[in-house]
Amino acid sequence: MLLKIRNLNKSYQENKLFENFNIEIKENTISCILGPSGCGKTTLLNIINHTVNADSAILEGFENKIISYIFQEPRLLPWKTVKENISFVIKNLDIKEETVDKYIRLVELEKFANYYPSKLSGGMRQRVSIARAFAYPSDIILMDEPLKALDIKLKLNLIKSFKRIWQFDKRTVVFVTHDIDEALLLGNEIFVFSKAPVIIKDKFTLSSSFSDFTLEKPEMISLKKQILKIMD
């Protein structure tokens, strides 16, 4: 199944971000949107999330879809523990408490379940926000550069955590980034966006064999070169 956005138009004052823009996203895959800062990547996520209204657009396949969001910052409630932060979004949803424990285990934070966010590192907090997004019974997970503030080692750990949890529970993921390495390590499909007004410069489908967390393979290196050339 495909989720389609057709004839999307969105401007901020004189600045046209999208003009008759079209994109098709495959369900149950990780689609990476790679593009320069300020090109409208976050706006696209916000339009999908209905927190920003498009000037005009036809959205197909999004009806009744439940969405969870992994933000740039973890956005955890400081007065709730790891476990309580995850329970917070699923309370009243007829979901068992064991679900929370399951996702805490999947992001390897069992020992920290009763810790407050102030006692966790930045990477750990972002892992909690990943667990929260998966514990929520969503159809689509939107990710807005959640790895931006992390160093390379933490980034790789987080990508591993994310992939592990996603293999276990495949959802439709739309992941926005300006970092080619993140897109190559995480994505099943990569859409390369131009500057605003956005056009899709190219689209790449990655074979699953790429997902072994290495950028050193010759195929990866050549793909990276190809994308870099397109982005220039």
Binding site: N49, T51, I67, R75, L77, P78, W79, K80, F88
Partner: protein, 250 residues
């Protein structure tokens, strides 16, 4: 850390001692118990007051008035503050009321309260009007300072409005509520005692201060003042302890 702590303690002790020495020196200069009694005669008066039959009813009722005033200010201040903080129209409605209450001289409020209420109610009414705007304004400021990104996160996860107020706004404003309550108590105490001085309920710190002043018992006036300061300090400590107990996440 402990070195700094003990150094600060020594400085505090030194400044307190300096104050007592200055007091003693001035009392020696005037040599009059009617103008400024010495620290030791004030201390004796304080013990006499503590051992008197009037002590517990006086402090008990003054403290009770303070607690009733604080509780009423707290409930209304937090409730109306949340409404005003989350609703601009209500905020515009409440703002002039808060400004008027805050700018009205305490003495005007007391004079009016003396006409409107029975003597026992006057200090409570004054305490309420002094403390309520503090707590309410702090709650409004607290709500406005709530991290909007947390609220947006909660909305993305379709959390109900009521749960957002209870689980996002309320904990976020807790430190503001406590700092409001703490400053409100400081002003509230003074207002209660002024209220008691002027309305003369049967028992109250202000009532006994006023009768001591009438008989020119300056040492008793100062002794009651010292007692009021100590009670105010105890309240401050209790508020801080409750805050530490509730705001555990920092």
């Amino acid at each position: 850390m402990s070195k700094v702590f003990s150094k600060n303690r020594i400085i505090t002790l030194f400044s307190t001692l300096l104050l007592i020495v200055a007091w003693k020196v001035v009392s020696l200069v005037y040599q009059s118990e009617f103008i400024l009694p010495s620290p030791e005669s004030t201390l004796i008066s304080t013990f006499k007051i503590i051992l008197s039959d009037n002590f517990f009813p006086a402090i008990g009722l003054t403290v009770l008035r303070g607690i009733i005033g604080l509780a009423a200010s707290f409930i209304l201040g937090v409730g109306l503050g949340i409404l005003a903080g989350t609703n601009e129209t209500f905020n515009a409605f409440l703002k002039p009321i808060l400004v008027t209450i805050r700018s009205t001289p305490v003495i005007s409020l007391i004079l009016l309260a003396l006409i409107w209420f029975k003597v026992d109610m006057v200090p409570i009414f004054i305490a309420f009007l002094t403390m309520f705007p503090f707590i309410c304004t702090n709650v409004i400021d607290g709500i406005k300072n709530v991290d909007k990104e947390l609220v947006q996160m909660a909305k993305t996860y379709r959390i109900s409005h009521w749960r957002i107020i209870r689980e996002v706004y309320l904990p976020a404003i807790t430190p503001f509520v406590f700092s409001g309550a703490s400053s409100a108590m400081g002003f509230g105490w003074r207002a209660i005692i002024i209220g008691e001085v002027l309305s003369q309920p049967k028992y109250g710190i202000g009532t006994f201060m006023q009768s001591a002043q009438t008989f020119l018992l300056v040492n008793e006036v100062i002794a009651w003042t010292v007692i009021a300061v100590i009670i105010s300090y105890i309240f401050e400590v209790i508020i801080r302890k409750i805050e530490q107990h509730i705001v555990v996440w920092n």
